[in-house]
């Protein structure tokens, strides 16, 4: 698993369309921003939708024993500017850490941390950095 560290995602690009942003605001019951700012909830799915791998592929890369053997860990977002609807962002990133841990309830698991950067495609300006930790439960470590 340690060999994962430094492995880069294929990357891709994503544009949150206006309709998508309106519906995201509906989901969380927050008024739509009139200037087109995307609700921060978009930072959950936009980087992953355009990282170049599907959830299934990430699970396989990390050796998930099943879908049920994956847990959400910690999520960190750092923003230099809000995302905006209609703007295309390039996504790039890599795995940054793997840590074997022993939980009180879940037994042995690997905490896999990866980082994805969102940059505005036209300017290259970094807009957000997302660092996610997913926990992969191990029944036979």
């Amino acid at each position: 698993m340690e060999a994962l560290v430094g492995k880069r995602f294929p990357g891709g690009s994503y544009t949150v369309e206006r309709w998508e942003n309106v519906l995201l605001h509906d989901v969380v019951e927050h008024p739509v921003d009139p200037t087109g700012i995307v609700h921060p909830i978009g930072l959950f799915h936009v980087p992953l939708a355009a990282c170049g791998w599907s959830y299934r592929e990430i699970f396989e890369i990390c050796g998930a024993e099943s879908d049920e053997a994956v847990r959400a860990g910690e999520y960190t977002w750092e923003l230099t500017a809000p995302m905006r609807a209609g703007v295309t962002y390039d996504i790039a990133g890599e795995f940054v850490d793997v840590e074997r841990k022993h939980g009180r309830r879940g037994g042995v698991f690997d905490k896999v941390t990866f980082r994805l950067d969102l940059s505005e495609q036209t300017t290259g300006a970094l807009v957000a950095r997302v660092t996610n930790s997913w926990l992969f439960l191990r029944s036979d470590p």
Partner: protein, 158 residues
């Protein structure tokens, strides 16, 4: 209130939702093309031993926390957010999100407030906890001096 009135201990005004609804879980599942049935199939939730109510998506729960921050400091105010999930939220649950300022710093022209933030279910169970860094605008809505009693039946935001 003015930005200068924000101090360590100032509370982020609470954001409340009287009922988490099944329809919005289905909507997010469709937007994300999320095939996980725990968000739209009660029988599957029961079959997995997870109870008899649909389970709200984690991103939505964090979205509620964001709502509290955005309603307080503006839609462009969030500079960073670190969260972890501590419990599920189910359809029909009442939820309340809020926070407390723990640190204030200047960053160039920005004044940044670091806040402990959270989302609780109506029964008091903490569902999300974390830390947000928020750029404070010159003027903010009135902050509360102490946490409102809970539960409530009304949302506090538009």
């Amino acid at each position: 209130m003015k930005r200068d009135d924000v101090v360590v201990g100032t509370l982020v005004p609470e954001w409340r939702l009287a009922h988490v609804t099944e329809s919005r879980m289905r909507l997010l599942a469709a937007i994300l093309r999320d095939p996980n049935p725990i968000h739209w199939d009660r029988d599957e939730v029961a079959a997995r031993g997870l109870g008899d109510r649909l389970i709200n998506q984690g991103p939505t729960n964090v979205g509620y926390v964001c709502n509290a921050v955005l309603a307080w400091a503006g839609n462009d105010s969030l500079r960073s957010l670190t969260v972890r999930f501590t419990s599920n939220v189910f359809d029909g649950d009442e939820v309340v999100a809020g926070g407390t300022v723990t640190h204030i710093t200047a960053d160039g022209a920005d004044v940044l407030a670091t806040c402990d933030v959270w989302l609780d279910r109506g029964d008091g169970t903490r569902a999300v906890e974390g830390v947000a860094v928020v750029a404070l605008p010159p003027e903010l809505p009135p902050a509360t001096s102490e946490t409102d009693s809970f539960p409530s039946t009304q949302r506090s935001t538009p």
